[in-house]
Symmetry: C2
Subunit: 340 residues, 2 copies
């Protein structure tokens, strides 16, 4: 039963050479004769040798492990990012250790600490809702652990970032609403602290202003998921105003919830009220009417984030933090009116 571990020593003694030579052969060093190398490789295969990562890490101070912290893995967007991360990392022989902050700052901190202890070579992170500063991340930077942030980033941290131009995309979306004849346009956002919420609100404001429309603070709503649900907020909004042409939502789940309320009020979409979401969840395509939204390149974002991180790990000398802005796609479906 208890198979003893095969080590470089075993290979060495079978071949009557030294462990160091075995190690060199296994790691493809130059200064090893081709025959020796072949013999070592062959013997390793025969013995079903599998290098011990822990021992190697202890020596080299590198684990080839990357830590990932996201708010919630089961969210469509994040699981797609993760998919991109995993595929790319594994193609370069890096492992990914995952953790979820569940939108809690303290969990985010704990997991980060855990990853430090596991000696992850680098960290990929998308911040929790609650996180409004980067002290915990600074501590890692002080320990020389590279970090790459994506989607939910903190601007004033000297690390690489991958984002989409939320403001521009929102501007474009709201501008489209205006061009299709909407004047009274509401914005339903999330926590005010959240980067994407701020950015998207800014794009909304900018579009109104650029088109000479007044900004009515009554139409700008922030719901944190705790005690102010989109459902309630929209209901209140509809009670408050009878003149409303459109609602621009922070994301698709909110838009979908809003859509239900609007339907219950027997308002026609898009004739009475237009609706736009953000993220392009699969449901948005199938829902009736199908939701106009902004698609974010989740998979590509993941891939870009790891590639940035690995680039930094492998060339620490030449590293300079950079911010990659990925393109979004505005997807016009049936919750918005046609352009004239």
């Amino acid at each position: 039963m208890n198979t003893p571990e095969i080590t470089v020593k075993d290979i060495a003694s079978k071949l009557r050479i030294s462990p160091s030579t075995v190690s060199r052969a296994l790691n493809g060093h130059e200064d090893v004769s081709p025959e020796t190398k072949d013999k070592v490789m062959e013997m390793a295969r025969q013995l079903n040798y599998s290098p011990n990562h822990a021992a190697r890490s202890l020596r080299t101070h590198r684990t080839r492990t990357l830590g990932l912290v996201v708010p919630e893995i089961s969210k469509h967007f994040f699981s797609n990012v993760l998919s991109g991360i995993q595929e790319y990392a594994s193609s370069l022989n890096y492992s990914i250790v995952i953790s979820q902050s569940l939108e809690s700052f303290s969990m985010e901190q704990n997991h980060l600490q855990q990853l430090v202890s596991a000696r992850a070579d680098g960290i990929l992170i998308s911040l929790s809702n609650e996180t409004n500063h980067g002290e915990h991340l600074r501590k890692l930077l002080d320990r020389d652990i590279p970090i790459v942030m994506f989607d939910r980033v903190l601007e004033d941290l000297p690390v690489s970032k991958v984002v989409v131009d939320d403001q521009k995309a929102s501007f474009q979306a709201v501008e489209y609403l205006i061009k299709t004849g909407c004047k009274r346009i509401a914005f339903i956002g999330g926590l005010t602290g959240l980067y994407v919420s701020k950015e998207r609100e800014a794009g909304y404001r900018q579009a109104l202003t650029m088109h000479g429309l007044p900004i009515d603070e009554e139409l700008i709503i922030h719901c944190n998921n705790l005690n102010r649900s989109p459902r309630e907020e929209v209901t209140k909004l509809l009670q408050r105003t009878n003149k409303l042409d459109a609602i621009f939502c922070l994301n698709d789940p909110i838009a979908i919830e809003v859509m239900q309320v609007v339907k219950e009020w027997n308002l026609k979409i898009p004739e009475d009220i237009s609706l736009i979401g953000f993220t392009n969840e699969p449901t948005s395509y199938y829902i009736e009417p199908s939701l106009t939204t902004v698609s974010q390149p989740a998979y590509e974002m993941g891939k870009t984030a790891v590639s940035l991180l690995i680039e930094q790990l492998e060339n620490p000398k030449t590293f300079q933090p950079s911010t990659v802005v990925l393109g979004t796609r505005f997807i016009i479906r049936n919750t918005t009116r046609k352009l004239l």
Copy 2:
């Protein structure tokens, strides 16, 4: 910049005690005086000590890391399983390293090998479509690496498993169709090799038989995603038969594709054709008409799978492989007719 690593030795020398005592204190051993323990803890905090996992693993032959292999992380079902796994594992201080087989047997093999090399304490796996035997898993068992399989399992492997009773759930679904007056019921499955596909087909056949309905092999269709899409298959089916009362689909994505075709043929759902899916994806709730389906407890499945694995890791003596069958929930929505 380059912060040197803080070790037990550092704590020891500051406190003028031995490293072993520090180690014992840190690991909560009994035989250490309370005062010493407190001092050690305090000093560890002060120095911002963080234990080196690699070194510990090298000594203890345990990594507190669990390897996960799933077909595709970005699929709703698997990302929810993963979420359950991650949360439970992290609550017990285990880390999860993820990998995706992308439905390829050879990738599954490679990732498993990688996890062996990383000395994962145990493996959680849901098989790829292509996998039809367990030789690669047997090799791990020979190395005494515990495995727990979930959802897509192999029956003849002596490991713990977590599944739902696919056959029973399908039986129930098809029986419901029959009770609502459907007689000619088609089944659209996936690859024939896939465990769930077989089980669900069996449930389908059983329901027909039990209710004295003939089994028409023409109505049983298997599409692998490669060259036979559900869309094509259903189109062919509709061309072939004009008498069709219902279609029972292997999963929701197939059902949703089928629904589109049925709509294009101007057939009314559920009046002309009833439809049932499996898995309960979020889209199924929002699609029009909303899809009758079977909900699988993904999160719970993940949680159960890790808990079985950790149980086995921590009590290897008393371990006996067990199979946990989780309950499904039949969700009646609007693609099926009402019971009389």
